[in-house]
Amino acid sequence: MNNSDISLSNENKSKSTFKFILSELKPKGKFFTTFNIISIPVILLGIVLIVIRFINGIGAVTNLTQEVPWGLWIGFDVVTGVAFAGGAYVLTFMVYILNMQKYHSIVRVTVLNGFLAYVFYAGALLLDLGRPWNVVNPIIGNSFGTSSVLFLVAWHFLLYMIAQLIEFSPAIAEWLGAKRARKILSGMTIAAVIFGITLSTLHQSGLGALYLMAKDKIHPLWYSEFIPILFFVSSIFAGLSMVIFEGSISHKVFFKQISEKNHWAQKGIILGLAKICAGAMFAYFFLQLLVFIHGKRWDLLDTPMGYWFLMEMLGFVLLPMLLFVFGYKKNSIFTVKFAAILTMLGIILNRLNVTVIGFRWDAAVSYVPSWMEIVVTFTVIFTEIWIFRWVINRMPVLKDSPEWVKEEK
């Protein structure tokens, strides 16, 4: 088993940590998998496009205009990606703060997922920055734009990445066999969790608050002063749906790593998450309804954008919510997974409607992302999955911690 050879190499003191890391860098497992065959050409093409972007400017690969300065890279990579990464703060809240031990076995993989999502999707921001060499300005120096929502979001991204790294660090220590470091790092978990949840609350809503000043540019069905609250509430079920979705894939791909006990627990976990999703979605749907009625927007419904809005609300919020309830009541894992996928599509729709589709919906020349923007987006996602797989195959994320951890307890 994988477990034993890692602990063996840990116990082998003659092998230095450096050599150990070097040996771990080598790929493991089959090389010609379907995922590799699809992802490698995409990543290579993406790298070429990124080089072109830095030589000839952002306009060389994107369709961005003076009226629509933020496109797919912000609207999908950053705004949607971060919503999906929300699972990490919701789960750490449930497990560490509410002490729901049932979900403990999936905390590590979710935090890892969240951490990588932040690193890559916030990293994708660098591609979209026209003057990336100045990116340190809001962090150091005297250029604090404290009245900017983006300033807040930037700082929170940075701090939250550190908090997530601390939350995940015991797994790294277990991988390296660093017993003392593991003890110290585990002691910091609760502080990191509390800090992380606070940061997440603020920047999940902050991503919505970014668009508050674009009042006249976003279609009124998607603009209200409640965008921050709507973004925050929807990040709860967006993140959990991602956990359900990603969990069911991981369970197939990394089948061998998961202990039998955790395999049996999986069903209970998915049904429990379905219940929470349904609750959060009910709150979200109710909020959307309140905003809609309060804003007196009935006349807007009978327009093409109105039908689009109805489809999002009924087909991708109300329907998956009912499916979650149904799946939970009937113990149907399939229904729950289907609902999770619908929910995720709904989140993508909602975030794109605010940031891209509904943004300057009335412009003469509307923005449609170029194929190059889409390739770069896939490059970012695929590279993240590569790193994710690399970590899962090496560190005790899905598999149980090495024996010495239990002995210490």
Binding site: I55, N56, G57, I58, G59, A60, T62, L64, Q66, E67, P69, W70, F93, Y96, I97, L98, N99, Q101, L125, D128, L129, G130, R131, P132, N134, V135, N137, P138, S143, F144, G145, T146, S147, S148, V149, L150, F151, L152, I190, A191, V193, I194, F195, I197, T198, T201, L202, S205, G206, A209, L210, Y211, L212, M213, A214, K215, D216, K217, E225, P228
Partner: protein, 288 residues
């Protein structure tokens, strides 16, 4: 046992840091009363559409000469090569010209949006851009209700282009090139207070000529660039649906709630943590 010393220190530490941050997170509000911003008053009834302002602006800023024919029906827009453009509109009172450029708001959305203070409302009044600070995120473009900042998409070292009201000239006591050289005297430079007084005077003296409104006196919280016209402003392509409150006001509520969340949420979470931890201990004891 209640909260122990270490946890108390943690909580106190978080609360303390947040209180310190309270001050720095506040939005700087410009006090209109004791600041004399410079501004420009543009009188569309005087403008003859000679494009002198366009040409001189391009020359002064080292940008390409104006392009496109100035005629009714052909709407030209400012872009990364043209900081100001004239347009001609067929209105209820015949063909009229109108100049477009940065409005130099009293409380600019772009400056409130900028996370590096690259966009800056100077104390003289012009809104300027600083390339050493800007990281090219284009949030100013997303936020500006007038769509003024323009980005050089086809450059590896892109700049934000917008009218600066000739800031370098103003601080040396000069006046902007467009106002200095307008043959029709349609563009008048001065302090905002003087300009509003002048505009009121013109409206009062020419009741048949002007509509009784100054575009920019209240729009978007007041702007440095203001318009006079003989026809309703929407006939001249100006956006009359913009709100009269300043745009940074829209995100103020959110920003003000940040310190409270930072103060209240961590102790709450710590409290829940302590409470559920006790439950766990009790359960463990019962099981034993």
């Amino acid at each position: 046992m209640g909260i122990n010393r270490r946890d108390f220190l943690k909580t106190a530490g978080v609360a303390g840091i947040t209180l310190l941050a309270l001050d720095s997170f506040g939005i700087e509000k410009s006090k209109n009363s004791d600041v004399e911003f410079y501004g420009i008053l543009y009188d569309s009834t005087r403008c003859a559409g000679c494009q002198t302002c366009e040409t001189l602006c391009a020359e002064k800023n080292g940008l390409p000469a104006p392009v496109g024919e100035l005629k009714a029906g052909n709407i030209r827009k400012t872009d990364e090569n043209h900081r100001t453009v004239l347009n001609c509109y067929k209105t209820s009172k015949g063909e009229l010209f109108i100049k477009t450029q940065c409005m130099h708001c009293n409380e600019p959305a772009c400056a409130a949006a900028c996370l590096t203070q690259a966009m800056c409302k100077t104390k003289e009044g012009p809104v300027t851009w600083n390339g050493d600070k800007c990281m090219g995120c284009r949030y100013c473009m997303v936020s500006c209700p007038f769509d003024v900042p323009k980005f050089e998409y086809h450059s590896a070292n892109p700049k934000i282009q917008k009218c600066t009201m000739c800031y370098e000239k103003i601080i040396k006591g000069g006046i902007p090139v467009c106002a200095e050289n307008c043959p029709a005297e349609a563009i008048k430079f001065g302090t905002r207070r003087e300009l509003i007084a002048e505009a009121r005077k013109r409206i009062a003296e020419g009741k048949d000529t002007y509509i009784d409104e100054i575009y920019g006196e209240h729009t978007a919280g007041g702007t440095g660039f203001m318009y006079l016209s003989s026809v309703p402003f929407n006939e001249l392509g100006l956006n009359t649906k913009l709100q009269n409150e300043s745009y940074p006001e829209l995100s103020k509520g959110f920003l003000f709630s940040v310190p409270s969340v930072f103060v209240l949420l961590p102790p709450l979470l710590l409290g829940i943590y302590e409470a559920t931890k006790k439950n766990k201990n009790i359960k463990n004891e019962e099981n034993e």
